[in-house]
């Protein structure tokens, strides 16, 4: 009994780590720009594909050993994925921001960018699923009836490290201070001589880079890639960010793990087809009761 509970907790932590990693990207961009980057789930998908191509390139053409490939793939994936995120920002969002367009239009643009990424992938690579090559040897440890693999532990540890890193960036560094300043007052910040565009690009680099990392880890844990894999997990991660109170890093992190726990528990006790239903219902109830999420602060409007 205790063993199965512990087993479920470990599974929930691993599943929640993916949500947390992606939700951090949502929350960073939202915090700075108050823009829901609906394309973020698809950036995660692109990250997984980039990881696939980079890893197969290193494995087949250079013939390197698995651990070295992993060590090379992590930074390469993160850099390439953040390039994708920055390109989106440069091509689609920045011109709209320059024009001072209504936020709604930017959101629609983001939604459309996500669709383009999905279907461009489908059109270029075809509908066949890709199998991610095994990079490290998975070893199963069993302690008192609870089994876990080194990969699971790696995923959870990575999520925690990323959270701590982002927390440090946002609270302690100059870039983080500028980010918080922009989210506080967008109009005063350029007057203070803060290069707003650079800070926004930095935000996208951080968010997309960690989405790429999540894509790599996801591809290693569930080694089947398909173009629509980003859509649903992106929505869910977004739910996680919202439940935690979007714009707050602690909120996104906790929300991710909360959602992971809810889903794993649903699958453990109900038929697995109920997973989405219950996850979205939880979101609806939380937002109805607490419209700005768990850590969110309600904004007051002055007339």
């Amino acid at each position: 009994m205790l063993a199965s509970i512990l087993q479920n907790i470990i599974n929930a932590l691993q599943w929640g780590s993916f949500y947390a990693l992606i939700a951090l990207g949502y929350t960073l961009v939202y915090g700075v720009l108050t823009l829901i980057n609906f394309a973020h789930g698809d950036v995660f998908m692109v990250g997984a594909y980039i990881a696939f191509f980079v890893a197969t390139f290193f494995l087949s053409t250079l013939g390197l050993p698995g651990w070295l490939v992993l060590a090379l793939t992590i930074p390469a994936t993160m850099i390439l994925t953040s390039l994708v995120g920055v390109t989106l920002e440069r091509v689609a969002y920045r011109p709209l921001r320059r024009k001072g367009a209504n936020r709604l239009y930017v959101v629609i643009t983001a939604l459309m960018c996500g669709l383009i990424l999905e279907h461009a992938n489908l059109a270029i690579l075809g509908a066949s699923r890709k199998a991610f090559p095994p990079l490290i040897k998975e070893t199963v440890y069993t302690v008192g009836g609870v089994s876990f693999t080194n990969l699971k532990i790696g995923v959870i540890v990575t999520a925690v490290l990323v959270f701590l890193f982002l927390q440090w960036v946002v609270t302690k560094t100059r870039v983080g201070m500028a980010m918080r300043a922009i989210s506080y007052d967008k109009f005063a910040v350029p007057l203070m001589g803060i290069p707003m565009d650079n800070i926004i690009v930095a935000t996208f680099v951080l968010g997309s880079g960690f989405a790429g990392l999540a894509g790599l880890l996801f591809a290693m844990s569930y080694p089947v890639l398909e173009p629509y894999m980003g859509a649903l997990i992106g929505w869910k991660a977004f739910i996680a960010a919202v439940v935690g109170g979007i714009g707050d890093i602690r909120g996104a992190f906790l929300g991710g793990f909360l959602l992971g726990a809810v889903e794993i528990m649903v699958v453990a006790f109900f038929p697995s087809t109920f997973r989405d239903l219950i996850a979205f219902t939880v979101l609806l109830v939380i937002l109805t009761l607490k419209p700005t999420g768990l850590f969110g602060v309600a904004k007051t409007t002055k007339i």
Partner: protein, 340 residues
């Protein structure tokens, strides 16, 4: 002459409806053209009803297909249960000859069910605003689809069919292209209803919410009531569109009402322009034609359409007719109809 001017729109509509019906009856146009025309009508209903929430009320609802799904399922289940022999429900409950009278009731019942599902969005909207409300609408869309997928008795994710038998029952009584007639009638009904709604005194409250919700509240506009009714009207009409869609296609499955379908509705609204009924009608017609023209491109279609919208957002964010009606652009049209 003034009489003729005053009723010109009515006469034109009757003529157009009669012409399409006659063409369909004599089989002078192919079934393909006919189905494109019917999808046009359905899309007009969809985009005009979504425009009420997104354009006139200024809320960002992006789960419109969910309500369409409710309408499609309720009206097709009701139609098949009442008037057709089916594996799930057995023999028809009522005489199939009655289908001819009850069909609009069946469609409206789907609309009412969808309006009740609209409460799923309307009640959270009292407190929640902006982006958070957008997420709630997406969640509502997913919840509806996922609920229907989990009801195995009505086919689950495999879908549900049998609506063609109801149509055949109607055609057995009087041989007419019934679907064409009903799609046309409901399209006109939707536009009429929405026009009356947004130009009424009550409808002024809808635009007040769009301008500034807090200020509207202070000016003693009952925002909660207006939001509830607007969301219910909008989702109810989407349900009507869904019911018609189900009967035109003759098959429904929850997967066809996913977020992609909602995106289609959004594209139509933003292409036509927010807060413009005639814009919505125009863009729905254009968009349906575009979808058909791009059909040979298959998957590339879904790259071209989002790209089109992105370009539109960059260069003309207000759409074809943003916050204007056709009568404002061509003032001579105002001699024939009055919008406000």
């Amino acid at each position: 002459m003034t009489m003729l001017r005053r009723y010109s729109v009515h006469i034109l509509l009757i003529l157009a409806g009669g012409l399409i019906t006659w063409l369909a009856y004599e089989e002078m146009v192919s079934l393909y053209v006919l189905s494109v025309l019917m999808f046009m009508g359905i899309n007009v209903i969809l985009s005009a009803s979504l425009n009420l929430v997104n354009g006139y009320m200024g809320e960002f609802s992006c789960g419109h297909a969910g309500f369409m799904c409710v309408g499609a399922y309720v009206s097709s289940l009701l139609g098949v249960w009442l008037f057709a022999k089916d594996k799930v429900f057995g023999p028809p409950v009522l005489d199939p000859d009655l289908a001819i009278y009850a069909f609009p009731v069946v469609i409206l019942a789907g609309g009412i069910a969808a309006a009740l599902a609209g409460l799923l969005v309307a009640i959270p909207s009292y407190k929640t605003r902006g982006d958070y409300l957008a997420i709630i609408t997406i969640a509502a869309n997913y919840i509806i689809i996922s609920t229907i997928e989990n009801i195995g008795a009505i086919g689950g994710s495999r879908g549900f069919m049998g609506m063609k038998r109801v149509l055949n029952a109607m055609e057995d009584v009087v041989y007419l292209p019934w679907m064409v007639i009903w799609v046309f009638a409901f399209t006109v009904f939707t536009i009429w209803l929405l026009r009356r709604y947004v130009s009424s005194t009550f409808g002024k409250g809808v635009s007040a919410i769009c301008q500034d919700e807090v200020a509207a509240e202070i000016m003693s506009v009952n925002t909660n009531k207006i939001k509830t009714i607007s969301f219910m009207v909008s989702s109810g009409l989407a349900g009507v569109a869904g019911g018609l869609f189900a009967f035109v296609v003759g098959y429904v499955n929850p997967g066809s009402f996913n977020i992609l379908k909602s995106t289609e509705a959004l594209v139509m609204v933003y292409l036509g322009g927010m807060g413009s009924l005639s814009g919505s009608v125009l863009s729905a017609i254009l968009f349906t034609l575009l979808l058909e023209a791009l059909r040979p491109l298959q998957i590339i279609k879904w790259i071209v359409i989002p790209l089109l919208l992105i370009v539109l957002m960059q260069f003309r964010p207000e759409g074809i007719l943003g916050n204007k009606e056709l009568g404002d652009v061509f003032p001579w049209l105002k001699r024939f109809y009055r919008f406000k």
